[in-house]
């Protein structure tokens, strides 16, 4: 049960509003200005935005500093993503204290993609903790004000902790049991892997009805047919229906503008369908769009939904 509310994200969820969250992916750069510009666009459409932690094991800028910067420079609340791939429990704990000092209010606890999939596959995968053990550690920090071994934290952090889930996992039952574990450990919200087929989202929401934490269904606009094919082939749990693929193909043959328009329609329709379910909102993973294009896309998608 949520005892106290520290963030706009949790406030909106607790009020039962249908909400949107966005995503910012720091890349291999020291330039933070584009992220700030993206954050300013997102701010007009979403309650909060995830800042990714070296997704797919790609060596990028960390997630903590951009989480802080988007809150400070764009007034966009951050959902600070932490994976267990690159840091042991000491390093993660240490980063969490720093996040507390920087007034980060939401953390998404992830196991993280394996180093073998990234751009430095020779790296040592850490995985000292997994996603559930990370939730367990965060709850200890927030609720009891202690570290994993019970040492007191002076001025403990105040975070809400979210987790991920994969609605298209096959088999699905172990994934659902894992979400039960996460919820019983004190996870407060769920953001799912991308969904393109409303039936998959509906089945997942039905099968997880007994798990009483808000679910945000993940969606991800498709920049090209090539990207769509790559995702369907390489990302576990990503299933793109033929109908969606056909619409994208036809639009791509016409023009770039037609493709953007088709995305607006496809995902506007999907959001409209998600709104009819028990889902608490939609997590939009539209990353690496130029700010103007992102603005056009989000405005279109959310107004047509």
């Amino acid at each position: 049960m949520i005892q106290k509310i520290y963030s706009d994200l949790m406030r909106s969820l607790s009020e039962g509003k249908f909400i949107f969250t966005g995503e910012i992916e720091p890349v291999k750069t020291t330039n933070i200005y584009e992220m700030i510009e993206t954050a300013k666009i997102l701010k007009e459409h979403v309650v909060a935005a995830n800042v990714t932690d070296n997704p797919a094991g790609l060596a990028y800028m960390n997630s903590l500093v951009p989480s802080y910067i988007i809150q400070k420079e764009a007034s966009l609340e951050a959902i600070y993503q932490i994976t267990c791939r690159d840091r042991n429990r000491i390093a993660i704990f240490s980063d969490l204290l720093a996040a507390g000092a920087l007034e980060i209010k939401n953390v998404l606890a992830l196991t993280g993609d394996h180093t073998a999939l990234g751009d430095n596959p020779q790296a040592k995968p850490v995985f000292d903790l997994d996603s559930q053990q990370l939730v367990y550690m965060i709850r200890k920090m927030v609720d009891e004000g202690v570290d994993l071994t019970g040492h007191q934290i002076e001025n403990p952090p105040k975070f809400h902790v979210g987790v991920a889930a994969a609605p298209a996992a096959q088999p699905l039952e172990p994934e659902i049991i894992k979400l039960e574990r996460k919820a019983s450990l004190g996870a407060e919200f769920v953001q799912t892997q991308v969904v393109y087929d409303i039936e998959i989202a509906k089945k997942f929401l039905d099968d997880t009805q007994h798990i009483k934490i808000p679910v945000l269904i993940g969606i991800c606009p498709l920049k090209s047919v090539g990207m769509a094919k790559w995702m369907a082939k390489n990302l576990p749990g990503v299933i793109i229906p033929d109908g969606v693929m056909d619409r994208l193909k036809k639009a791509e043959e016409k023009s770039k503008e037609a493709l953007t328009q088709e995305n607006i329609e496809i995902f506007g329709e999907l959001i409209k369908e998600i709104k009819k379910t028990r889902a608490s909102g939609v997590h939009i993973m539209a990353v690496h769009y130029p700010p103007a294009e992102l603005s056009f896309l989000l405005t279109g998608m959310l107004s047509s939904a």
Binding site: R85, R89, T111, D113, H114, A116, L117, P125, F127, D128, L129, D130, S131, Q132, Q133, Y136, M137, L148, A164, A165, A166, A169, Q170, P171, E173, P174, E175, I177, K178, E180, R181, S184, L185, Q193, P236, G237
Partner: protein, 218 residues
Amino acid sequence: MIITELKPLEEIAAAVKTHMNALIVACGGCTTVYRTGGRAEAENLKNSLEAKGIKSTVTLVTRQCNKQMVTSTLQPLIGNYDIIVSTACGVGPQVISDVFGNIPIFPAQNTKFITKYDPEIEKFSEYCRACGECIIHETGAVCPITRCAKSMLNGPCGGQTNGKCEVGGWKNDCAWVLIYDRLKTQGKLDLFRKFRPPQDNRLSNSPRYMTRERKETA
């Protein structure tokens, strides 16, 4: 047991050729059982080196991980050689060097892992990582520390599809789906539901030592 793999011949030859007299020491333990570095393989290595003009002699230590066996077997002959080539796992050459530290030694094998052996398909699979705290009675006798690419204690992760792991290109089984299937068959899904807190890594941190009470043999 431990599975090893012979290094490329060129690598071994390059290390040995600057020496006058090489002693190839085979091991009668795991490398004999899996035919990677027993007497027969050591003889093969000797012949291959000879084809390159490098002379060597072969001997066998029953267990190169046993200091006493290494000492008693090699003591009488070691003085005749200026390099040792061991075909044991990574333990053997170290034990030899602990005893005869004045002679350089070359490990002829790369040591792979603690293995399961499937003779029909000549496949070796890592089944134990010697973490020091066995929990497989709770996981359907499937070790998640070894057989899950992320060593998760609370799996599966989102990187599996139809029970196959994305690490290694969907060829290997997801340990946690195996665990789920097996516990479900046994009617023990309560063990699957259980949360396992973070591991005590002190048990697996190297270097590790163990002593036990000395037993006098008759």
